[in-house]
């Protein structure tokens, strides 16, 4: 595909859970190198949106494509996506290395061991590579989970509150990794409750509420301070 074509494109995405419209008609698209910071109150539908984009949930209506392919059909297309979720998605009995290596193998990397080591190192958790995930502290598990998500160098990286539980070092490592991905021409979607964190890398910023995008701007047009103010009263006033 040409660099111009969007990496991810969502058209009128809707997902209901027994009548509750968790995601209620979301449309947007990200091109290579773009980074969308997604904010929104609890229960806004951010996680559901990410799970839809990752092909983990079937949309009630609407469609989303990655690199021009719908994930549920295009097996190969799934290889382009990386996902950091609320849950660690790791196998507790296996070591950090084994978990990341397994992911690398599933993505058919030529040198899974090397790739895994690199990813773990990038997240500064290489020294615990041989500990079973079960025995890692929460922040360390988060680091491994992120390493798992970036090991195959995804073209589209979906991060659901990725800074959760990370200390200074971890956060720095994550930011660096995100920047590196973007520089490598990947599109990023980062969900966070911390406007500061979110706006650093962002080329676009969106606020979600009640399943819809209530704001969507280019980062350039956004002044952090006023944006924060706007966000606050958007959130605090009840839907």
């Amino acid at each position: 595909m040409t660099a111009a074509a969007p990496v991810v494109q969502a058209v009128g995405l809707v997902r209901t859970f027994g009548g509750r419209r968790a995601v209620d008609g979301v449309s947007f698209s990200l091109a290579a190198g773009e980074c969308l910071a997604l904010f929104g109150p609890n229960g806004a539908g951010k996680t559901t949106l990410l799970r839809l984009l990752a092909g983990l949930l079937a949309p009630t209506s609407g469609s989303c494509e990655v690199a021009g392919v719908a994930l549920r059909d295009g097996v190969a297309a799934r290889g382009l996506v990386g996902l950091v979720s609320h849950a660690s998605m790791l196998y507790a009995p296996l070591t950090a290395r084994e978990n990341v290596e397994f992911a690398a193998r599933l993505h058919g990397l030529a040198h899974p061991a090397a790739a895994a080591r690199e990813a773990l190192d990038a997240m500064r958790v290489l020294d615990r590579a041989e500990s079973p995930v079960r025995s890692l502290s929460r922040g360390l598990q988060q680091r491994v989970s992120i390493a798992r998500a970036i090991v195959h160098g995804p073209r589209l990286l979906l991060c659901d509150e990725p800074y959760t539980g990370l200390d200074e070092v971890g956060s720095a490592a994550l930011s660096a990794a995100l920047a590196e991905r973007r520089a490598a021409g990947a599109a990023l979607l980062v969900v966070t409750h911390n406007l500061g964190e979110g706006l650093i890398l962002a080329t676009h910023a969106a606020i979600m509420r009640g399943g819809r995008f209530v704001r969507f701007e280019e980062r350039g047009d956004v002044d952090a301070a006023s944006y924060a103010a706007g966000y606050r009263d958007l959130v605090t006033t009840d839907a």
Partner: protein, 234 residues
């Protein structure tokens, strides 16, 4: 965000179909008990036949074959919630009729065979059908998310369809290889014209009742889903 589901089709009107079903069955009892001659060999016990065979026919063929397995298979491809609701309703109503068979059967068996139960192929198959439908309903009860529930139960119904011949075959084999411990097996009782009419009326009556129950249950399912939409949309 709020969705405004179409207001549920609450039908306050009288359900004629269901009512006539009940009436027909009532008539069947009256006719079977007072206006149909006793069976020479079996006496009063034989009268169970009119309920037993008819409900068995309804359960096996109408409910599970026609109204459950078939729509379920279709659902996997058409993904139409109506099909799922139909299967759900058929399963529940069918389970009732199967239970009737499983109750009247033994009641009949005791005086005739001298035992409540024998492991003959047809009996066992009926029993397992009951299990599978029960499992089917359990599965439905255990999945909250509607689309997922529909897919799961459709898959189960499909596999069950494949399973039935295997159960029948193996149980049949099991039995024919070892002669049944119980000897007194009734060849389908020879019937007088009177009996045949009652017998036929029985099939008609129970089919009507089934249709009535199915429609009522289907309406409930539809309303429940719509109300769920309402509830959650608040």
């Amino acid at each position: 965000m709020i969705i405004e589901p179409a207001s549920p089709p609450i039908r306050r009107g009288f359900d004629w179909l269901l009512a006539s079903g009940y009436a027909a069955v009532a008539a069947l009892y009256v006719r079977a008990i007072w206006f149909t001659p006793m069976d020479a060999l079996q006496g009063a016990a034989q009268k169970i036949l009119y309920v037993h065979a008819a409900s068995a026919f309804v359960a096996l063929y109408l409910a599970f074959g026609f109204c459950m397995a078939f729509p379920s298979a279709l659902y996997l491809f058409l993904k139409d919630e109506k099909l799922d609701r139909l299967a759900e309703s058929a399963a529940e109503v069918g389970l009732v009729f199967t239970t009737v068979v499983l109750v009247t059967g033994p009641i009949w068996a005791k005086p005739i065979w001298g035992a409540w139960w024998t492991w003959d192929a047809r009996l066992t198959l009926t029993l397992f059908l009951w299990f599978i439908i029960a499992g089917y309903l359990l599965l439905r009860g255990a999945v909250e998310e509607r689309g997922m529930r529909a897919r799961y139960s459709a898959v189960l119904a499909l596999l069950a369809g494949l399973l039935i011949p295997f159960i029948h075959l193996s149980v049949y084999l099991f039995r024919t290889m070892h002669p049944m411990p119980i000897v007194l097996k009734p060849s389908a009782p020879s019937m007088s014209r009177e009996m045949l009419i009652t017998f036929a009326w029985g099939f008609m009556a129970f089919s009507l009742l089934f249709a009535g129950m199915l429609r009522a249950r289907y309406r409930i399912a539809t309303m429940r889903d719509l109300l769920a939409d309402r509830e959650a949309a608040r």
